[in-house]
Amino acid sequence: MATPTPERTDVLTARDPLRAPTVTRRLILQGGLTGAVAAGLGARTAAYGQASQIGPATAAGGVLRDDILTLVNHVTQGFTRASYEEAKSLGFEGYLESQLDHENIPDVEMDAVLAQFPTLTMTSKELFDTYGPPAGGNGIQPLVELRAATVLRSIISKRQLFERMVEFWTNHFNVYHLDNPLRILKTAEDRDVIRAHALGNFGDLLLADARSGAMIVYLDNIANTVGNTNENYAREVMELHTFGVDGPYTEQDIQELARVFTGWTIFPPPNQSYGNFRFAVGAHDNGPKSLLGLNIPAGGGVGEGETVLAFLATHVKTADFIARKMAAWLLSYDPPQSLVDRVARTFLSTGGDIKSMVREIMSPQSFAEYHPIAHPKLRRPGHFVNSVLRATGATINAPGGIIQSLALMGHIPFDWLSPDGYPDSIEAWGHAVLPRWDFAARVFRNQVPGVQITGPQLFGLIGGAPQAEVARAIDEVLMGGAMSATDVAEVQEYVDSYPNLTGSVLRDAFALAASSPSFQYY
């Protein structure tokens, strides 16, 4: 029987809703199903015939390979054949649930890698004593290890959805890493606040963050005392962390909230609990306060802040703000209000359960309403790097070269100065393309220190494909076959201009594919 002619599905690089995407039907290895795109696309899919059945795996084979691939692309830091096969075997819902159940995903390889970073498990006090002033140090080692661990986790960890949410909350509760004492305090905050609650409860996360040494220092609560208020945290906890800038608060509310947080400080060195939360009774403004429609009587102590944080964490405006931001992170930039409303309702009805919100965002209904394939997101530079390394299974011997590459692209973890965190938009990142081509060219030439991709590895990845099929094979490796026909054809034309498929030609072909417009999106 003749091999069916392979057909391709383009990644929809058409971000502009007014331009029809150039989707063609994709190769379905299982046969039988055509790869049409979600019914929710409306007019855009009219040219492509039947609507898809978006949904969990059913006996009728309702889930399309597209959706599994899409799910993998949005749950992980980049497609790998292994992730995809796992998702296929578990099915859409099964795979999502397994990733949500992150604590029960064995991560042996990752654990072995993390063991080389002892600072990750140390207390702030221990870090201070070992790498700070008492040891004549400048606190750099914990910073270096946390950066490295973060990058390596995003590439290697099996708990990919967890790492995606860690990145989301890290940006949301941005803390700038480079100044002392944040170089030391960020480690505990990353572990005990962000990672402890990334797939937990939003209210718990908010409270833990408010009490973290890193946030108390970063946004100046440490200097916020009775009669000498500092409004920095009070402003940003509403503007950035809960309500959003158009939330129901005034400048007066900010001033009053600053009074609420007076006394929210940390144990100073050399205390054993250095960096941990300490409520300084004497620094707290005990007077009555009125803000956000709440009347706080005198003498409320630390409970005042806890009360307001709980109020913020369960507010309808917070639900809407967080729901929208999470949907934009996990799906795409401009989720419809109906989808946001559903997720916000989930937020409120579960009291802020993050897993439930993720489940709602990655539900069949949400995919039908706002299918990511129709609204591709731009990989931010870190994601781009991770995707290349994951798809190729590159050997990572040391993280320094990866960090250096991220520096060239302006996307080192925790290196964003202001509390709004790294942007996540095409407009912000989509003009700097040369640094991506540069990384692609270097990594496939083994010019990224600490990263190695051998010739045999690359030939192994394309699985014996002949020269005439190389671009297609590379497409399968890097994007599961989702590269646009144009990009595949261009790479193939490059390969075809050489008499033989040498290792050098193959390296360049991989680099060109990773530099393609298709690969910049997910």
Partner: protein, 427 residues
Amino acid sequence: MERHGHEAHHCDEYATLSRRGFLDRSKLALAAVATAPVWLPKIALARGGSGDPDVLVTVFLRGGMDGLTTCVPYGDPDLYTARPTLAVQPPGMPDGAVDLDGFFGLAPAAAPLLTPYSNGHLLIVHATGSTDPSRSHFDAMKFMETATPNMGVTNITSGWLARHLQTSAPVGNGTFRGLAHGNLMPTMLNGAPGVLPIADPASFAFPGSPLTAPLRRATISDMYASAEDPLGTAALGSLATIDLLDTIDFAGYTPANGAVYPDSVFAQSLRSTAALIKAQVGVEVAHLDLGGWDHHNQMGPIDGILAGLLDTLTKAIEAFYLDMQQAIGRVVLVVQSEFGRRVAENGSAGLDHGHGNCMLVLGGHIDGGRVLAQWPGLAPDQLGNGDLPITIDYRDILAEIVQIRLQNPNLGEVFPNYSPNFQGITV
């Protein structure tokens, strides 16, 4: 917002890696903006003067620079009532201001500005800024950079400087009309034709082996020829810009007049800007960000954080000014910040978000050597909710530069819903 500047970390491994001495941001998640906005009428691209327009260098200080430290109104006694510990002392006192005109002075850390000031090329505008009442950094920046203060939610996502470029004919062939130093496109240049974010112009080169470069370049060029914007335009623009920048020897560039640029990322970006301007390759705008100005705590105007930032800023500007002497008649450099800071100090030797601020305008055709101000006074009843009022809309300053020095009369498009009132800052 976090208070610290960025220059102080000393780990050698990272000294060259962390290129961020500034806060880059673009908050726009939506709408394609590479083309002129829908509401922008088709207008004949204007070239309204003789000779080429000046090159405009814009510097945005992210976080809210304290204008009352940078340019101290030491002649106003209410300053010292409001800031018993933070106010810069009058000239003649220890750590006192550098006198400018008998009422205003420069913070000691900003003393390098005296060089262009005393040559009549630096104008300081005071009690100016964006009239939008927002005290949110991010909204204030957005409104200032899109030039949409007090307009609430608009669908205007393009930057004012982008709209200037959209409504004016290119000086060169339009391929590379400007750059933003860094990795992100600032809001001010959102939608700007022929502008790229470039972290380091000296290393903006096509990667990989020169032997295979032509074919690889052709492949990439073909792939991006039909790619969606902004990537498509950015890619093709990058390829052309690579060739253009290749003609400029940044590494071997020797600043003129013995100017020495400090080592800071900011200063080095100004140095490469100078090289770029002198190369006359058609660059019309260059943008730099410098972040870390949000001093709620321990502001340190004399020997602390603010002093350090002013030192970084002004030494770099002085070097640029000296370097550009022979060409200063065709350059305008503008320094602004999203808002100033409150007049009264807070309890942690810092200042909270304010309103009115000062702005710096430097250039050969700028009527400098003075402080332009309609000084409202700093007594509590003269302030707006404890903040320095704005008596001169920042758009008045920018509009005059755009029309007179950049030769673009399309002010209605660049600054929508606003009739600028020129202050006579150009000569």
